[in-house]
């Protein structure tokens, strides 16, 4: 038998959510986040195991998962996820050339991951940081008032 995709640590973290909700179904989204944070994606095998863990059909998990464009299923995200905002306040303050610059520097289009698995680039809708437009969210950190130069600095600093 092959080893399960969801290891003990993942299962424990998901289990911590059980007491917070009256149904197991409500744990689906928190559980998907746990899986993504550990594996970088939610492969189909994880969906099957999640379904077993939560007492649901795999199709029910898949239904919820596929609604959010957020979770990948084919391959893991890069070590870093760069989300660049393209909504109005950022666009009005020059986000579009920044998207192009990022694509050029990374050699990928939005939605893709660099071949070395370092960075996944995504365009985002308003990140709620319009007071610092143009804004870019890199993993857990908001980069504010971005320029081409600041993007270069940010990229240098990413391992």
């Amino acid at each position: 038998m092959t080893a399960p995709v969801l290891n003990d640590e993942i299962r424990r973290e998901i289990g911590d959510f059980f007491p917070r909700y009256p149904t197991r179904r409500a744990v689906v989204l928190p559980a998907l986040h746990v899986v993504r944070e550990h594996l970088g994606y939610v492969p189909p095998a994880a969906v099957v195991e999640l379904a077993e863990l939560l007492g649901l059909a795999p199709a029910e998990i898949q239904d919820t998962l596929s609604f959010y464009g957020f979770f990948r299923q084919d391959e893991p995200e890069g070590r870093h996820r760069i989300w660049i905002c393209r909504s109005l306040s950022c666009a009005a303050r020059g986000a579009e050339p920044l998207v192009e610059h990022l694509c050029h520097r990374l050699g990928i289009r939005p939605g893709q991951t660099t071949a070395d698995g370092r960075v996944t680039l995504e365009v985002a809708e308003c990140l709620g940081a319009c007071d610092h437009a143009p804004a870019i969210l890199v993993d857990r950190k908001m980069y504010k008032n971005m320029t081409v130069e600041k993007i270069d600095e940010m990229l240098e600093a990413l391992e």
Partner: protein, 448 residues
């Protein structure tokens, strides 16, 4: 107005403002202690109703009235969902509160739960707010340790748990029924109302959904009183019997082409122009404003000659916009093309439509294709009429969709075409001088 003192944002610039020790030293949780020991839940609810507080999340529904729709003497559980999905483009003031004053938010959640009889509250937080998540989680941990949360809060019979629930980058999760579905672990497809959440909401139980800023206001209403709250704002419009007035302080966000983008607190009803000029330092590069989105992208556009509009719940409607929305403005200067605004807006709503209602799913896509075509220089003058016709048909108000996302998609189109038709016609004539006609998308709603 000159003696206005900010209360919601009073602490945000303070060092370590997010820590319990600093909040407590500023008098934090004093109001909670008073309410739990000296007031019944019904008294708290009455106070909030008397204040005239209206929801800050976009719809402006009177909060006390919403709470009073809960069934009386229900066996429970009753749920409180606090809406921190904040995904309306241009909107960021909830983030400022959660990052810099999470305890004020939590005190408001506890008071609101006390008034509504909720025993569990979920804060539905958008995933893109990692700092808010960390700060709120740390603040909740401090509260449990200090006895502000959990069983028998401060020795009273009242018990409450608050859980953070993170979204997954979908705007529709901010719509209250979408939020409830998402919390239950399903796709965030808004439900048809009725039943309303007050009778059958989260997990089929009576539920209240309120915005972060709304619950923060509750703290100050109880602390400073109803008269203080009603001393600022716009009284009810005598000509409009359905207008309950707009009272209290409001956090206004200003971004786009201004010198000092930011979150500024002012009494409801402050003129749009004053926010731009006095607070945000005016339009950048010495330019003039061409258009202003008054309260999040969904609300549409004010034109340059409508900037004296008071930023209360009614005046933006009178100026032809959807409403006050979130009170977060986006300023566009005289050089910004309206066609780019249209394109940005249509792209957003096409991306975020949940796809459940055909007019919304197809309408947002057609409008995007149409605007892309105009932008690319293949537009026809008749396309503007098609946009108008489509947007007038789209939304809860005309009755074609389940939720308000579609109304939000419609108002930017309606206002852009109605208020800036000259510029758009000019653009079409200039970029498509031969009048070259393309047949896609084929769209004749009534003329077929």
């Amino acid at each position: 107005m000159t003696d206005f003192q900010p209360v919601l944002t009073a602490r945000v610039d303070k060092h370590d403002s997010h820590r319990l020790s600093v909040y407590a030293a500023d008098g934090g949780y004093r109001t909670l202690r008073h309410a739990l020991t000296k007031m019944t839940p019904a008294e708290v609810l009455d106070r909030v109703r008397a204040s005239g507080l209206r929801g800050r999340g976009g719809a402006g529904f009177p909060t006390g009235m919403k709470w009073s729709f809960l069934p009386k003497d229900h066996q429970g559980p009753v749920y409180l969902c606090v809406n921190a999905d904040e995904s309306e483009p241009g909107t960021f003031c909830n983030r400022v509160l959660m990052e810099h004053d999470p305890h004020q938010v939590i005190e408001g959640v506890i008071l609101s739960a006390y008034a509504t009889g909720a025993s569990t509250a979920y804060i539905y937080l958008r995933y893109e707010y990692p700092t808010s998540f960390e700060r709120l989680q740390a603040a909740l941990d401090e509260c449990y340790a200090a006895g502000y949360l959990g069983r028998n809060i401060l020795g009273s019979p009242f018990s409450l748990d608050i859980h953070l629930h993170r979204g997954a980058a979908a705007y529709i999760c901010g719509e209250e029924m979408g939020l409830i579905e998402s919390l239950e672990g399903r796709r965030a497809w808004p439900r048809i109302k009725p039943p309303f959440p007050a009778t059958k909401g989260l997990f089929g139980q009576p539920t209240v959904v309120n915005n972060i800023e709304t619950v923060a206001c509750v703290v100050h209403i109880l602390d400073r009183g109803v008269d203080w709250f009603r001393s600022m704002g716009t009284p009810p419009d005598p000509k409009n019997p359905s207008d309950p007035g707009s009272f209290g302080p409001k956090m206004y966000g200003i971004s786009g082409h201004v010198n000092r983008p930011g979150c500024y607190e002012a009494p409801l009803g402050i003129p749009c122009r004053e926010l731009i000029d006095r607070f945000a330092g005016g339009v950048w590069h010495g330019r003039r404003a061409k258009a202003v989105v008054p309260g999040g992208l969904s609300t549409g556009l004010l034109s340059a000659d409508e900037l004296d509009t008071p930023m209360d719940f009614s005046a933006p409607m009178r100026a032809g916009c959807l409403g006050l929305g979130t009170g977060c403005m986006m300023v566009l200067d005289e050089t910004y093309p309206i066609v780019d605004f249209l394109h940005n807006s249509c792209r957003f709503f096409n991306h975020e439509s949940c796809g459940q209602c055909t007019p919304c799913r197809e309408g947002t896509r057609w409008s995007l294709e149409l605007v892309e075509r105009i932008k690319a220089g293949r537009g026809r003058l008749a396309d503007l009429d098609i946009l108008l016709e489509m947007s007038d048909f789209l939304g809860i108000m005309p009755g074609s969709t389940i939720c308000g996302l579609a109304d939000g998609a419609a108002w930017p189109m309606k206002t852009a075409v109605r208020k800036f038709r000259g510029e758009l016609e000019e653009y079409i004539k200039k970029t498509n001088p031969t009048g070259y006609q393309e047949t896609r998308p084929v769209l004749f709603l009534n003329h077929a």
